[in-house]
């Protein structure tokens, strides 16, 4: 089978999955949350919050991470990765908002935080940051569209406020990536002590950087394969080095946190097993792997290491919000078929939109013809 055929078939499957997601989404809107999900008064938050929202936002952290590396830490070599990273961040947030739409009891009121303010609420801050950051990302993508339509005078205008967009993107991301963790500051008694930490905000922020870097690495390698380009190994392996370093820092933070809180880390119960997988298999192991030059310089090695690291962040979000939640109750939650189908539909949709953006927008510099001015 030729590559075009393969891609065509892949797209057909993704469109099918998206359609399925839309169908169950409509059912969810008319039937209500109780009928569509396995959520209950004992488990008010489930798969959609853990994956579509908490995990989705973390995995979309690549946009601000790469942007900060280039413009704040002056690591100009990462420039070729900036646009793909921002595109995936934009798609990530778009999907997150769609996911949130179905998770809210009254989705048509999703705009309420704009006029109804509760400045005491962490979730209020998160909703504002997400709204503004999605706008910033949308402007970025819009600039590329303007480039494609060759409206250069407009591009010039946006270039003149570019510093504002960059700084706003980094500030907003710093705030809401950490605040998503801070949501759980209010419910330590319902969580396992392994994750119920007063430092959860900064841990979420750091792990979002890990997730962002990992996803940029994975996407660079996979999309290079899909679009028949050569992966820019030199840059990606350099990013892999950065990922390794961040993993080491995160590991140190986790250990310090556990030590400072005197948490008993030895145990063979369910939370401890998940904790070992999260910290040893998905933080320590990829850090070690990335320390080895042979791994760092091979696409396969990078894919494995970054895949493990990204999965570690996914697992962390689930452990914080779901697996460790309510462990003392006599209730059980497993997502319903509809919850799972909708989530798969969202992932499929994300890939489709990303693919559309990659093909129709000047995401790679050499395609665009206009260099990014700094």
């Amino acid at each position: 089978m030729s590559r075009e055929n393969k891609i065509g078939r892949g797209r057909a499957i993704l469109i099918g999955l998206t359609a399925l997601g839309i169908i169950v989404g409509i059912y969810r809107l008319f039937a209500g949350l109780g009928a569509a999900t396995n959520l209950s008064d004992a488990y008010p938050w489930g798969l959609w919050v853990s994956f579509d929202i908490l995990t989705g936002v973390a995995l979309a952290g690549g946009g601000f991470t790469i942007s900060a590396a280039i413009y704040i830490f002056n690591l100009k070599k990462f420039e070729p990765l900036l646009r793909p990273a921002k595109l995936s961040a934009f798609v990530g947030y778009l999907i997150f908002i769609i996911g949130l739409f179905f998770d809210l009891g009254q989705p048509w009121r999703i705009w309420h935080p704009i006029i109804m303010w509760n400045p005491q609420s962490v979730l209020f801050e998160v909703s504002w940051c997400v709204m503004l950051y999605t706008t910033v990302l949308a402007i970025d993508v819009f600039i590329w569209a303007l480039e494609r339509w060759q409206k250069y005078e407009w591009v010039e205008f946006f270039r003149s406020i570019y510093v504002f967009l960059i700084v706003a993107g980094i500030v907003l991301s710093t705030l809401h990536q950490s605040s998503l963790g801070a949501l759980f500051l209010l419910l330590p008694e319902k969580m396992s002590t392994l994750w119920a930490s007063p430092a959860i905000g900064i841990l979420f922020f750091t792990s979002a950087i890990i997730a962002g870097m990992s996803m940029v690495i994975i996407e660079s390698i996979l999309s290079a394969k899909a679009y028949g380009r050569k992966p820019e190994m030199e840059i990606i392996s350099s990013l892999g080095k950065g990922l390794g370093l961040t993993l080491v820092i995160y590991f140190a933070m986790k250990v310090t946190d556990l030590y400072a809180r005197q948490v008993s880390v030895l145990g063979l119960d369910w939370p401890h097993v998940l904790f070992y997988v999260e910290l040893l298999v998905c933080v320590a192991l990829p850090a070690l792997l990335l320390y080895v030059p042979e791994v760092r310089n091979s696409a396969k090695g990078l894919l494995w290491a970054a895949g493990l690291a990204a999965f570690g962040v996914v697992l962390n979000r689930f452990n914080v919000s779901l697996t460790s939640y309510g462990g003392y109750r006599d209730f059980w939650y497993f997502p319903s078929a509809i919850e799972i189908i909708l989530t798969i539909g969202l992932i499929a949709q994300a890939i489709l939109i990303f693919d559309f953006g990659m093909r129709y927008l000047p995401v790679y510099r050499e395609m665009s013809g206009t260099a990014e001015t700094h």
Partner: protein
């Protein structure tokens, strides 16, 4: 600040409070069954704002002792639910009740996650769902009536009044009847203090209810404050990160310009 003092030693488990609550709030009746004990219904939910938990405790000498504990919203002084709600749909009124505004709620259910007493319940069966919980009969308080449950209680187990006076009365009872009461008023300091106060014959731990809504490990600090403390830091973080990023951005830009200039001169 009003409160309800629940002297569980006076409760006879007649459930008149449950009936009164249903009537006043026009909540639908439903077919129920006894649960793990005589308690009925088994859980609080969107149609049941209060219920009496029945506990049989067999003492070492073989005597069975009954405990009846009326469970409902604690109406915290610093409610975690109100700190959690992104749109401010939940509010602590000066008179005591923690009330919920139907017109603001977006259905995010963060209040349910945040409440240390697991009180807010969701209308899972509805396509247009709201959060439901005991309102302290705020609508009755507004017309100078006491909450429906308190007015229906035949034994005076539910005592409505000023919080300060009720606390004094509670401590008077503990002092006057040593041995009859567990010497602590649950809600006086629990979670930063609540407007629902409990006098019990034994601690909630002994009654086995500390994992069923009456947590005894909450401490005196209201957990909603953790969120508020975080929010107090947010503007400073924003300014610091924003300032630092802007500064470094221009520094890097300048550095780049100088480098290009130097290259040209070479």
């Amino acid at each position: 600040m009003k409160a309800i003092l629940i002297d569980t030693t006076k409760c006879i488990g007649c459930r008149a409070c449950q009936v009164a609550c249903k009537s006043w709030n026009s909540l639908p009746g439903e077919k129920t069954a006894f649960s793990e004990t005589w308690a009925n219904p088994r859980y609080l939910d969107a149609d049941n704002y209060n219920r009496i938990i029945f506990r049989e405790v067999t003492s070492p000498d073989g005597q069975v002792q009954w405990h009846f504990i009326s469970r409902r919203c604690m109406h915290c002084l610093t409610p975690a639910c109100a700190s959690a709600c992104p749109v401010g749909a939940l509010q602590k009124l000066l008179e005591g009740p923690v009330v919920y505004n139907d017109d603001m709620c977006i259905g995010c259910r963060y209040c349910m996650m945040a409440c240390p007493f697991q009180i807010p319940k969701f209308e899972w069966g509805m396509a247009i769902p709201y959060i439901r919980k005991c309102t302290f009969c705020a609508d009755r308080l507004a017309i100078n009536q006491e909450p429906a449950c308190a007015s229906s209680c035949p034994t005076g187990s539910l005592l409505f009044g000023d919080r300060d006076k009720l606390l004094k009365e509670a401590h008077r009872r503990i002092g006057a009847h040593p041995g009859k009461y567990y010497p602590e008023v649950y809600g006086e300091k629990t979670g930063g203090g609540t407007s629902t106060l409990y006098l019990t014959a034994a601690s909630f731990e002994t009654l086995g209810l500390n994992h069923e809504g009456f947590r005894t490990d909450l401490g005196d600090y209201p957990q909603g404050m953790y969120g508020r403390a975080w929010m107090a830091k947010v503007p400073w973080v924003a300014v610091a990160v924003g300032g630092l990023c802007t500064g470094l951005y221009y520094l890097n830009k300048r550095r780049g310009e100088v480098q290009t200039q130097e290259k040209k001169e070479e």
